[in-house]
């Protein structure tokens, strides 16, 4: 079970967590994280992702189940002996210590010699490009710099893995994007295992090897970013990651791969990929990405519909068209800006999509 510590360096096994003994915030969590992997726990607030992280860090104990780190159960090990680095939401830099002192703190409590400490601190500061800022206090640094100090502090004592709890939440958009790349590059460079928590899907998509989508204390889907985006397994994931057009209907018939769905408002039939549905006659939610819908009536002749242009938004590289299709007036199509788009609001447009691109999911 625990023999392969490379593919399950961190292993959550049947973890339940409840704060009040009644409501489970984490339900039967099973999760394997490989060594060197960058895994993101993504989900709305209250979905249990931070609780999971805190259990891994040792600040919360699982109600049931066990967490293994490198094959050893760690539930009984106090946080200060776990050798797990962590970047906190608001950095938790110690305001009464300089940057250097903040960084040498974990080394000092490990009784590492002065000269080694100095060297390691300098190396860590150089890594985050703050070599010159060692003598400053955290309050004298910008948000982005504080963020980097927190990162350096979490790495300086060479922990077995690093946890990050929405570390970029307090930064403005540009800085956040820049830091995403920086963290990703540091991860690539030193190859440390990272468990990252965020509610920002683009952050998760940018940085992660794999993403665990949390909702209601349950991992909805654990996959690489591309699969998560292109092949969501249920309607929560489809909705939470990226944009998507939703339609509900009833399954009329199905074969091994596809199913025929009659839309609710009698607007027609849709041939869709069978992903997560029950039997014929049951309800389903269809999901298609805006960029997978093409204008015109070409294609293989299935799923051709007519829509009324409600709104046009010019975004430079593409034009965002909001249409009224099959009674859904929130239907979005992204049209690449190739210079030939000449529709106006109120026009009727033919549009179609491939049955492989529309997924029939649970409701």
């Amino acid at each position: 079970m625990n023999s392969n510590t490379d593919t399950s360096f961190v292993k959550f096994e049947k973890i339940d967590k409840s704060y009040d003994g009644e409501i489970l915030v984490v339900k039967n969590l099973n999760l394997d994280i490989a060594k060197g992997e960058f895994v993101t726990m993504l989900g709305p607030s209250g979905s249990g992702k931070t609780t999971t992280l805190m259990m891994l860090a040792g600040f919360e104990t699982p109600t049931n189940g066990e967490i293994f780190l490198a094959g050893n159960p760690i539930s009984k090990i106090p946080p200060y002996e776990r050798e797990i680095g962590m970047v906190f939401q608001n950095y938790a830099l110690f305001p009464h210590m300089t940057v250097q002192e903040n960084l040498s703190f974990p080394l000092e409590v490990r009784k590492i010699s002065k000269s080694d400490t100095k060297e390691k601190v300098q190396k860590a500061l150089d890594m985050v490009e703050l070599g010159e800022f060692g003598t400053r206090f955290p309050a004298q640094l910008s948000g982005g710099q504080q963020q980097r100090v927190a990162l350096a502090r979490a790495l300086v004592f060479e922990p077995r893995l690093v946890l990050m709890d929405e570390p970029l939440g307090a930064l403005d958009k540009n800085l956040r994007e820049q830091m995403q790349y920086e963290i990703k590059h540091i991860h690539d460079r030193i190859g440390i295992t990272v468990v990252y928590v965020t509610h920002d899907q683009s952050e998760a998509l940018t940085m992660s090897n794999r993403i665990a989508v949390f909702n209601d204390g349950v991992v909805q889907q654990l996959s690489t970013p591309d699969i998560l985006y292109e092949k969501p397994e249920n309607s929560f994931v489809a909705q939470f990651i990226g944009e998507n057009n939703r339609m509900t209907g009833t399954i009329k018939d199905m074969d091994d791969t596809y199913c025929n769905v009659e839309l609710d408002n009698g607007a027609g039939n849709v041939k869709a990929l069978k992903v997560n549905v029950g039997n014929s006659g049951e309800k389903t939610q269809l999901s298609v990405r805006p960029e997978r819908v093409s204008l015109g009536s070409e294609g293989d002749g299935t799923n051709i519909f007519t829509g009324q242009v409600e709104e046009l938004i010019y975004l430079g590289d593409h034009i965002r068209v909001r249409l009224d299709v099959c009674g859904n007036n929130e239907f979005i199509v992204k049209v690449p800006n190739e210079g030939s788009f000449d529709y106006k609001e109120g026009d009727s447009i033919k549009l179609n999509w491939n049955p492989d691109d529309i997924r029939a999911l649970d409701i």
Binding site: A57, G58, F59, P78, P79, Y80, E81, R82, E83, I84, G85, M86, F88, Q89, N90, A92, F94, P95, H96, F105, P106, V109, R110, R153, F157
Partner: protein, 376 residues
């Protein structure tokens, strides 16, 4: 303004010069080097000024004269009675000197005359010397007071000691309470806050007398201890009307001044700091000492300074529960202000108190930095 007035009064020595202006003028002309009595003219002016002097004015001057040498008051009083009698009868003495010595032989004692020299100037440091148990001898040298009159130095030391202890106990007791206040869920911390503030809003006098009820020998605490069999009935502890009582009552009364600044500082220390420290490998005790405690220094110093400054000038509580040996300097200031009317000494004691506080403030600023203070 009141402080300036106090400082002026503490060195003011003009009362006598206004009562006996001519005597002093003649007195100054006298060459005091020789161990002799002053010349006839000094006796004469004194005689005349005593005969015409207003009673209230003279009375005030006498009080001052008595500070420089005890005995002045009764001497002048007796003498002026005699002089008034004589002037009523219209007698004019042949030799003023002999007459005065005849009225009271102390007029032949040069030490009285020498002590008058202290009062020549309109400014004097005498009150400050008195405030630290010193006085002048006849040659204007600063000497210790008589053994039995030395009370201030020991009171000063006791005041400092009590203040330091009270500050220390407040810190020891206030820190955990403030920590609880800052970290308990809102529901409980609000309740606890009320427990802190309720006594704070209660009258000082009520709380002090409540402590008397609690602590006295037939009081609640002794009663409970005897009832529990911890103390025998005649082994009741004397906890009030002494220094212990002062310490206990003052600590309780000043505790909120420690808790509130501490609380306001602790409340803004993010809880993630302790977690971060532990995550970085520090045991909880290390995390507390190296990460939490240093961040509470602004609160500790604000509370400490506040409690100390309040304690050093405290008056009502030590006066009521302190008994004889629990009295602090504030009690003496009040005593001289209301009973002996020695306002000069009051002002000097007050000025020294102010000085001590300023020294502590300065020290504090050197060590902690005044910018570090945080009251809320």
């Amino acid at each position: 303004m009141p402080i300036g007035d106090m400082l002026l009064r503490s060195v003011d020595d003009g009362q006598i010069n206004t009562v006996f202006p001519r005597t002093f003028e003649e007195y100054k002309k006298w060459d005091r080097e020789k161990d002799e009595l002053p010349p006839e003219i000094v006796y004469r002016t004194l005689f005349e000024e005593l005969a015409t002097g207003e009673k209230i004015q003279v009375g005030r001057a006498l009080t001052r004269m008595n500070y420089s040498k005890s005995g002045w008051k009764s001497l002048i009083k007796k003498t002026s009675r005699e002089i008034k009698k004589m002037t009523k009868k219209g007698e004019i003495p042949e030799s003023y000197k002999d007459t005065l010595i005849q009225i009271n032989k102390d007029w032949g004692d040069p030490t009285f005359w020498y002590s008058m020299a202290q009062m020549l100037n309109t400014k004097t440091p005498i009150y400050y010397w008195n405030a630290i148990d010193r006085t002048y001898d006849q040659d204007q040298n600063v000497i210790m007071q008589d053994e039995k009159r030395r009370i201030y130095v020991q009171t000063w030391l006791k005041t400092l000691k009590v203040s330091v202890y009270v500050t220390f106990f407040c810190l020891i007791l206030g820190f955990p309470v403030a920590h609880l206040l800052a970290n308990l869920p809102l529901r409980y911390s609000n309740l606890l806050m009320i427990f802190v503030l309720l006594p704070f809003w209660t009258s000082l006098l009520v709380r002090t007398t409540a402590w008397i009820v609690m602590l006295q020998q037939k009081g609640v605490i002794n009663g409970v201890l005897v009832w529990l069999g911890i103390l025998s009935d005649d082994g009741r502890i004397q906890m009030v009307y002494n220094e212990t009582g002062t310490l206990i009552a003052m600590t309780q009364i000043l505790l909120p001044f420690m808790i509130l600044p501490l609380y306001s500082v602790m409340r803004v220390i993010p809880k993630s700091h302790m977690r971060a420290a532990q995550n970085l490998g520090a045991k909880p005790a290390t995390a507390f000492l190296r990460v939490y405690l240093p961040q509470t220094i602004p609160g500790m110093s604000a509370g400490g300074l506040l409690v100390f400054v309040l304690a050093i000038g405290y008056f009502i509580t030590p006066e009521l529960v302190g008994g004889k040996d629990g009295k602090l300097i504030g009690s003496w200031i009040a005593y001289h202000l209301k009973t002996t009317l020695n306002w000069g000494l009051c002002a000097a004691l007050g000025a020294i108190l102010l000085g001590v506080m300023l020294i502590f403030y300065w020290l504090y600023n050197k060590i902690v930095g005044i910018d570090n203070i945080k009251l809320g």
